[in-house]
Symmetry: C2
Subunit: 300 residues, 2 copies
Amino acid sequence: MSVLVVGSVALDTIKTPLGQCRRVLGGSATYSSVSASFFSPVNLVAVVGADFPKVHINLLQKKGINLEGLEIKKNGKTFSWEGEYSWDFSDPKTIATHLNVFSQFDPKIPKEYKNSEFLFLANIDPQIQAEVLKQINEPKLVVCDTMNYWIESSRSQLVKLLKDIDVFLLNESEARQLSGETVIVKAARAIAKMGPKKIIIKKGEHGSILFSNKSVFSVPAYLLESIFDPTGAGDTFAGGFIGYLAKNKKVNENTIRRAIVYGSIMATFAVEDFSLGRLGNITPDDIKARYEKFKALTCF
Amino acid sequence: MSVLVVGSVALDTIKTPLGQCRRVLGGSATYSSVSASFFSPVNLVAVVGADFPKVHINLLQKKGINLEGLEIKKNGKTFSWEGEYSWDFSDPKTIATHLNVFSQFDPKIPKEYKNSEFLFLANIDPQIQAEVLKQINEPKLVVCDTMNYWIESSRSQLVKLLKDIDVFLLNESEARQLSGETVIVKAARAIAKMGPKKIIIKKGEHGSILFSNKSVFSVPAYLLESIFDPTGAGDTFAGGFIGYLAKNKKVNENTIRRAIVYGSIMATFAVEDFSLGRLGNITPDDIKARYEKFKALTCF
């Protein structure tokens, strides 16, 4: 089963205590598409400018990602983000955001994608996420991500969107910000009342927790020796999550739990290098090996 | 199989954002003994003063804890600690510590405890922990806890002791402090070089991780709606851990993993009220129910 991913494709300039990079391939839809592509076919809908390097197009194509929905604006520049991480590698400081072509992004879903069953609304303006959702006929599973910026600036649009979301992903601080609750269990319960059937709270190096009305599932994180650049970890998690579900076609408690484990594992590859440096070069065997290690790490 | 617990029995005065209490039953050996008593017989070695309320003695006896090794100094006062927690419920601020009878604590292990196979050196001066260890003939499993205060003030004694420890327990910040490493995997590896065969790093609401030369085991925490008072959580974890192992007599990868899960579960009861308010009143069925919930929370 294919996954439809709608979100940002960007050029990132990043500084961490361990190094820096300039205008490398990034964006929520990029990380999630590449991650999902290891499990199922991916259709990407996004926009870039004329400055978007051909080498990045080649990489996405090499991963088998269908780029029919990737609009290239001849008179525009690609969305770019510049950020800096401190030693705790948590939320980065944004140095600059240039929306560029993204400021007028009005995604037209290609006709052949309108019956998509697995839809990932990657981190973009919730208003645009809602516009996309309207264009999909009867999605089987709608997964949605967001970020602190939208919770602050577009709260009402986000809350409205949440009524139609199956799985809502957010990190701990976003969950607290959106709900006004400090205890995570209470935050999740408050967000559940806004509509999403399931909520996944990502805790970075401390793992993640799935809340649904029937059950709670908590997993630790895979243990990494070092993190190089956390950019895209959440997007990569989401891509692995929905990709695994699309591959299995079934969405139930068991497949969702395993999808979270695969999402966690995919994220570990994303943080081991800048951009797609590591994630773009892994093999299915790498994923399998890390899944087996993860099982050994957690079983009792 | 019995567990021998040596550590502090105290009277605690505690303030949290949710309430306060004065001179309630506390101490590392108290929490760990009561926790272990749900799994196996416990022999306690500690010291208190003439002011130690009989009602506390009764509670410990009711739990079947053997108090032959609890010295009552007729001319002394019980060790007391006064602390305050802020909303993050992490390391408390110490307002006052009165060592009292504890300042001259020179534990004499009763003859019939000298062949103890399961020994827990609860959080006290590492010099005293070493003196205790010398008096035990051939322990099968020596578990040791400590705190930031000893890492700072008695580092060399602690490091010397660690050569003879099977399982060393400490929290994240203590692991960083002792090793000088910020990344937990590296901190654990550095501490392993100091001697302990296994290291358990407690991460509070984020679970715990076991490191040994053969494997790593990571578990999330049981999800609580609210924490009332975190005092004694680590001691209670340790008591459940060693109690479960003593009950099963076997110390191997499987039993140690399950012991960590039981330790985590016991700690959740400790934090639900001041002192032994909750932990002292649970039943084996409460533990069983929480273990089943924990399995459901974590399996995939």
